[in-house]
């Protein structure tokens, strides 16, 4: 998760509520009492954070496992 920048969201994804395109923003990710900062696509209006599948099942899953095994 420390690799930056993270995958930006596809440009056609917009927040349905705010009608705003997503922008990269700093996000605090935490699991099992550990937290660190990453950059992810978020809605500048309401703060909806988008996690693409590749990230969830790839890097994120790896970090989750590493923390579980710590």
């Amino acid at each position: 998760m420390s690799e930056r920048p993270s995958t930006p969201a596809p440009p056609e994804l917009t927040c349905d509520r705010c009608q705003l395109p997503l922008v990269l923003g700093k996000v605090k990710a935490s699991y099992l009492g550990n937290s660190f900062e990453v950059e992810l696509s978020c809605c500048p209006g309401c703060g909806f954070i988008y996690v693409p599948e590749e990230l969830a099942l790839g890097k994120m899953a790896q970090v989750e496992q590493a923390l579980e095994d710590k």
Partner: protein, 750 residues
């Protein structure tokens, strides 16, 4: 885990004992390793390997009396491996043995060696390698004098072996006789290897080669007289050098010498599985084996291993080792202070099926080890949440009002028996459960109570003793309320949990009961079925027999695999399937690949796992209630499993107890392709999770929209997991295009 217990387990796996050949070799030449290199045709590596064990590979290759060969287990199925001939091929292949290198000792000591025979020269070599100063006193003008007279040893071979001693720094004093006691004043230690001509009255300790004089050690042919063995004499020099080294370091002379010298091996070898093979005969016996002949002969080496358990268990095979090594890793995993616990998943991938203990010559069961390790992980709060979370949530569902139920038979206020169908059969075949319950009610006098719930097996397998205890307490409270009737289980895991963990609850399998009360009416359909006994019934021979007779009554011809006691797991046991899908699939795939015919089993989880991996399979209830092509029934999948349980309970309440129960209305109607559904199943995402996520997005408006496709992307975190769903609205239905989840929690950084 208890360290003492771990040691005991470790000691029971005998895979690391040397094979019979190297155990019998006094210097424990790794014959098995040598044969492996030769079988690959790598003579050079084989030669280098032999040189690591034997200071005189040429001489030994020509003259060794090869006790290894008489011990070789190949002789029980064909001829013993011609180990001596193989060594000779290596010795004459023309490779140079590497010279000895003088080592560096912390504290350099001076050692005198009396007699430059094989034992003395071996001691000299071993001590110079350790870095000591070595002086060899030889009465004659040449080294290895007596061997030079041997007509079977070409002079060039002897000289080639001696070349290893050039420039090592060993000082040779020729034509010098010396008195050991006098030398002992001058040197830190003395080895007397003067051969049969020397003083034969020395008292030599056979383990340590010590004499009455604390600094004098002795060995070699003087000890053997007419029983002379070249390799044993050589080994004397080696073990005496070891004693000298220990004495010089002030270490114990007697500790850890159990494996010293020629001995029998404890390694178990299943010789019966190897077809007999005669030894390869060299085309020219005088020349010995050609490299190609040596290769063919080496290929006859089994090689000796136990690995009985590894051969029958894809899980043990998967991790590339064997129990002794695994137990060590598992213990390290628990005791490690810093760094990753790398064996967590391995520990959680065992199905606890007990097959390994069944085939192990020492009855070592890895299931016991893994369960104990899991208990340790839970106790220290090191159990990875993700491995068992899904199963434990499923357990919670079965304990909840959605499924749990305990009642006397309608119209009764006591129960002669209590039927406990179990959560997985109810999940897989709710209709069969309902019909079967009615059959029991019709056949058993005095009322048959019904209890829906979970036996707690998932909690036990996850080593959640707290949860397991709660689940048992749930059961007990209801069981007592119903008047403690004997319990009839349909699922073999429930049967196991009750008999092992609640021994005061009288428990019987429904299959043995069924034989007494009679089968439901229905004609038999002729079929040919391979029986798979669930691993949790491994030693329940009465159940095995009943099931076979029932199947027979229903027209089935039964095909046996290795027999009930050698049955395997379907991959679900021990929650392996949830912690390690890959390993569980290997286990089930091996099982269903064993033959072509449809499988018959009496565990719903086994049947559904076979179906999931593409095997036609029936549950014994499918024979009792024949209905179309039951063997083609698909695995219902995890979502349907929960829904089926709920539906079973509601249906029974309505139909048998006449209650007014309505089916819950679906506010969110889902649709998806078979691929998406299979993908969700693999990711352990339930339709209910999807519904909740979509509902959350639709009510809160929190969702993204893909401007190109018009798909929505929603996310929802009910408890410890964030679910993502991409969906679109089509004709009032929510079409799911994909879903995934993660555990990590995200928030906008301040």
């Amino acid at each position: 885990m208890d360290g003492q217990q771990v040691k005991l387990w470790e000691s029971r796996c005998i895979e690391e004992f040397p094979p019979a050949c190297s155990a019998a070799c006094p210097v424990h030449l790794d014959v098995r390793g040598l044969a492996e290199l030769l079988r690959k045709g790598d003579l050079r590596a084989a030669h280098a390997h032999a040189c690591r064990f034997i200071p005189f590979p040429g001489i030994v290759g020509h003259l060794c009396d090869h006790p290894c060969q008489s011990a070789c287990r190949r002789s029980e199925s064909g001829d013993a491996i011609r180990i001596h001939e193989l060594e000779r091929t290596i010795a004459t292949a023309g490779f140079n043995a590497p010279p000895f290198r003088r080592g560096r000792a912390m504290e350099k000591k001076r050692v005198a060696v009396l007699g430059a025979g094989l034992s003395g020269m071996t001691a000299a070599a071993d001590l110079i390698v350790k870095g000591h100063e070595v002086v060899v006193f030889e009465a004659n003008a040449q080294l290895l004098g007596r061997l030079r007279q041997n007509p079977n040893l070409p002079a060039s071979i002897l000289e080639a072996d001696l070349a290893r001693f050039e420039n090592t720094g060993i000082e040779f004093r020729y034509e010098q006789t010396a008195n050991a006691a006098t030398l002992a004043d001058e040197f830190d230690a003395v080895y007397v290897g003067t051969g049969p001509a020397g003083q034969s009255d020395i008292d030599i300790d056979p383990l340590t080669y010590t004499t009455r004089h604390p600094k004098i050690f002795a060995g070699g042919s003087r000890r053997y007289g007419s029983h002379y063995s070249l390799i044993t004499s050589l080994s004397d020099g080696r073990y005496a050098a070891l004693s000298i080294e220990r004495m010089l370091q002030g270490a114990s002379l007697i500790a850890n010498r159990d494996s010293q010298g020629s001995q029998a091996s404890r390694l178990y070898v299943n010789v019966a599985v190897h077809a007999p093979l005669p030894a390869v005969a060299p085309a020219d016996p005088a020349q010995g084996y050609s490299p190609a002949e040596a290769q063919a002969e080496a290929a006859r080496c089994f090689p000796c291993h136990c690995l009985e358990c590894v051969q029958v268990c894809p899980y043990l095979e998967h991790y590339g080792g064997y129990p002794k090594r695994y137990i060590r890793e598992i213990y390290n995993n628990e005791t490690i202070v810093m760094g990753a616990r790398k064996s967590n998943r391995m520990i959680n991938s065992c199905t606890l099926c007990g097959l390994c203990a069944e085939v192990c010559p020492e009855q070592l069961g890895m299931g016991e080890v893994c369960l104990s390790a899991r208990q340790g992980m839970v106790a220290k709060n090191h159990m990875p949440v993700s491995h068992h979370d899904f199963a434990l949530r499923d357990l919670a569902f079965s304990r909840s009002k959605a499924f749990a139920l305990a009642r006397h038979q309608p119209g009764h206020n006591e129960s002669a028996l209590l039927f406990f169908p179990g959560c997985q059969l109810s999940a897989s075949s709710p209709d069969h459960v309902a019909r079967f319950y009615q059959h029991l009610c019709a056949k058993v006098d005095g009322g048959v109570g019904l209890m829906l719930g979970c036996c707690g097996a998932p909690a036990h397998w996850a080593a959640r003793d707290d949860l397991f205890g709660e689940t048992r307490a749930d059961f007990r409270a209801e069981w007592e309320r119903l008047g403690k009737p004997p319990v009839i289980t349909a699922c073999s895991s429930c049967y196991r949990m009750f008999t092992d963990h609640q021994p005061d609850v009288p428990t019987e399998s429904v299959w043995t009961l069924l034989e007494r009360i009679g089968l439901p009416d229905a004609g038999g359909v002729p079929s040919r079925l391979t029986i798979h006994d669930p691993c949790t019934t491994r030693h329940e021979s009465a159940i095995h027999a009943s099931v076979r007779r029932i199947a027979h009554q229903r027209g089935a011809t039964i095909v046996e695999l290795e027999g009930a006691e050698r049955t395997t797991c379907c991959g679900f046991g021990g929650l392996a399937q949830l912690a390690n899908r890959e390993v569980a699939d290997k286990i089930v795939d091996r099982r269903i690949g064993q033959n072509e015919s449809d499988h018959l089993t009496y565990c719903a989880m086994c049947r559904d796992n076979f179906a999931r991996r593409g095997k036609r399979a029936v549950h014994i209830l499918d024979l009792l209630y024949p209905d179309g092509d039951a063997a083609a029934r698909a695995d219902p999948g995890f979502s349907a499993r929960q829904e089926n349980r709920g539906r079973l309970k509601r249906g029974l309440l309505r139909d048998l107890w006449g209650e007014d129960v309505t089916e819950p209305a679906d506010d969110i109607e889902l649709a998806m392709s078979a691929e998406v559904q299979a993908d969700l199943e693999k990711k352990l995402i339930l339709l209910d999770d999807i519904r909740q996520t979509v509902r959350h997005a639709e009510t809160s408006g929190e969702k993204l929209i893909d401007q190109k496709t018009g798909h929505f992307v929603a996310q929802h975190r009910p408890v410890a997991m964030t679910y993502w769903v991409e969906y679109s609205l089509e004709g009032g239905r929510h079409v799911v295009h994909r879903a995934y989840s993660h555990r990590m929690q995200l928030e906008i950084a301040p």
